[in-house]
Amino acid sequence: MDWQKKADEIAQATGLPIRGMECSNVEWEPLLLEQERNGWELIYLAQNEDRAFLFLIQPDYWDRASRALLELYLTPAATSQPPQSIAEQLASWFQGLLDHPGTPPPRSVQQLTWREKRVIFLVERCRNESKWTWESVEPLLRDYIPDIQPTSLIIPLNPTHLLLIVPLSVIGTDGREDTLEWAYGLQELLACEVLDSFRVLVGPPFSSLTDAGRTFIELYHLSSALQRFRPSKMVAASWHYPLERWAAMLPDAVATGVLQAISSVRALPALSTEQKEALETLFAHQLNVSETARQLYIHRNTLLYRLDKITEATGLDPRHFPDAVLLQLHLLFGQN
């Protein structure tokens, strides 16, 4: 599209002040500011991959009818570009939610009503130096997910994150175990077939786009929390790690203050890896000793012995709730 030629044609036909300016995609905003200071107004912005073209008018010369005609004239040119796919529109919306959480879904995708519930997976690549793109991974996901089209959506958000929205019927039931099992399967698929490091996070089933947006934000925050506090956890669900999510959202100064406050209550010695593992498993299982022992594949008495040793070393009994909270906070803030 020759935008300059178009601007010249309009100026010639109407005799009204209109200006076409071309620049690179990163320069158009400062250029527009400068032109606005000189009394020009942007009537239309045309963009391609790397260039931008600004249609500017002197607003005093253009009455309402002329402006409407001008907009009508320029709009077909705009729509002659390939329309954004639903995935692209959703990607822009999801990305925008991180800065403006309440933004409603774009009108063009609001008609996306689903009769059955969906499940959302946030896939995160953990290695920035790898050279592949999400585009190359999409065929793998399409082969993997049964009945991928048109009921499932693969939405690359940016080079690091990809969203996968699949109908609940693909997963099975809406039980947490099933969705988590799927997350593990996806992580394994990507790790084995792309041979790279991925984190896969999953949320509860939802039936509206607004809920999808809310779940996405939760998963995004969970991802930040895991990067900081549990970098080795590669699969998790939005209902996991509430304390880590809370801690990750604290400003650094507040987190430092929390650590100082905890240390002032009691100075704790460094714990061994085995002790930390026992505590973290105990906390993950709501202080249930038998379940923790089962998870750690050790006898209940062995676990009790280890917990006694921790009490001996720290003066805090991890089976006692207030002490457990203090130990958990100490582990969380002390090691990060």
Binding site: R127, E129, K131, W132, L140, D143, Y144, P146, V170, I171, G172, D178, E181, W182, Y184, G185, Q187, E188, L189, A191, C192, E193, V194, L195, D196, S197, M234, V235, T273, Y297
Partner: protein, 371 residues
């Protein structure tokens, strides 16, 4: 099947942390090599560099005769088996194993043939129609292995594949993996922090610490001839006992002295210590728990000064043997593994004979083994 060569390989991170420092090793074709060491020693980073999951900061990596530094992970002809044994939940066992082959456009007959062969090797032929939910932990782990096997890669990379299994299953799968290696005759590089796994599985073991290779040797060499105190302490359970004391020349004998205890070295070891100038110097004396004996026959054959008198703190009965813990020699916690027929109790004193043909001495400053 292929050899793997790591030629002076380094991994440095942006914060100047050196995770792997001058790793230089040729892993032989069909070898089962185990990388072992404590958390943060660089073993997983090394494996991930071989897989292509971490970039190599410096050095060269060859798989077969091909330099693969810049080859994408999926093009390196490797298969990786991870800690988790997650399967694809909506596919049955057959489909789980076939999926990777279908992606690579193998013919149906080839897929069928490879899966049947892998199923036979892993003894899971009767499970091929089952969904993952209907499998036990051990069966899932076998299917996960099967998925790697059917690809027939040049090299298997295994990153702590057994650490998520319970103790009994871990022992069972250890044997299964070894049998598998014997049948497949493929190069396997296996990472573990478990020294028992390392000792029982590896043709050779690489012990790592702080990003550096400490020792590369067969399991028996690592156990019997550790090159430094770290390797000596890391391999063996219970760990080797260490005593810090001085070497003296007394009445024509070389003596290790700690407090009032004197241990006289046999002449062949005394000669080494003299020749290397360790007499009248502080050293670390090392002896494994099983090289201390309470049996009268041993004590009669090895009279003073190769004995210690232990005042027992704790006795652990392991069924066939007893572990006795004591700390009356220089205040150092020590453990001896003795015959379970001895009726030993805490607060008893017991004379222990030391098999000095198997003792170790380490330089106090460098912790390097003298022998």
């Amino acid at each position: 099947m292929a050899k793997v060569i790591l030629n002076h390989v380094y991994k440095r991170y942006a914060n100047q942390v050196v995770a792997v420092d001058d790793f230089h090793l040729e892993i032989h074709d069909q070898e089962f090599l185990v990388l072992v060491g404590p958390s943060g020693c660089g073993k997983s980073t090394t494996l991930r560099m071989i897989a292509g999951l971490e970039e190599i900061s410096e050095g060269e990596l060859y798989i077969g005769d091909r330099l693969v530094n810049d080859v994408a992970p999926k093009d390196r002809d490797i298969a990786m088996v991870f800690q988790s044994y997650a399967l694809y939940p909506h596919m049955n066992v057959y489909e789980n194993m076939a999926f990777g082959l279908k992606l690579r456009k193998f013919s149906k007959s080839e897929i069928e043939q490879r899966i049947q062969e892998a199923a036979r090797i892993l003894d899971i032929a009767h499970l091929l129609d089952r969904k993952p939910k209907a499998l036990s932990g051990g069966q899932r782990q076998r299917v996960a292995l099967g998925r790697a096997i059917v690809r027939e890669p040049q090299v298997f990379l295994m990153d702590e594949p057994l650490s998520n299994l319970d103790a009994k299953l871990r022992v069972q799968m250890r044997t299964e993996i070894l049998k598998l290696h014997q049948r497949l005759n493929t190069t396997v590089i296996y990472v573990t922090h478990d020294q028992t796994e390392a000792m029982t599985m590896g043709d050779r073991i690489v012990v790592m610490k702080d990003g550096l290779i400490q020792q590369v040797a067969t399991p028996s060499d690592i156990y019997n001839h550790p090159v430094n105190q770290f390797v000596a302490s890391f391999i063996g359970s219970p760990s080797m006992n260490f005593l810090e004391g001085n070497l003296l020349e007394k009445d024509g004998h070389v003596i290790f002295q700690i407090d009032a205890v004197e241990i006289r070295f046999p002449e062949d070891k005394a000669k080494v210590l003299r020749d290397r100038g360790y007499v009248n110097k502080p050293v670390i004396f090392g002896i494994r728990p099983e090289d201390m004996y309470s049996e009268p026959s041993f004590l009669e054959a090895n009279p003073f000064p190769s004995t210690l008198v232990a005042e027992i703190d704790v006795v652990e009965n392991m069924g066939s043997e007893l572990y006795i813990y004591f700390h009356n020699i220089g205040g150092t916690q020590m453990v001896a593994r003795v015959d379970a027929r001895d009726a030993l109790k805490p607060r008893m004193s017991i004379q222990l004979g030391l098999d000095l043909s198997k003792c170790h001495v380490f330089d106090r400053e460098t912790q390097v083994a003298v022998f």
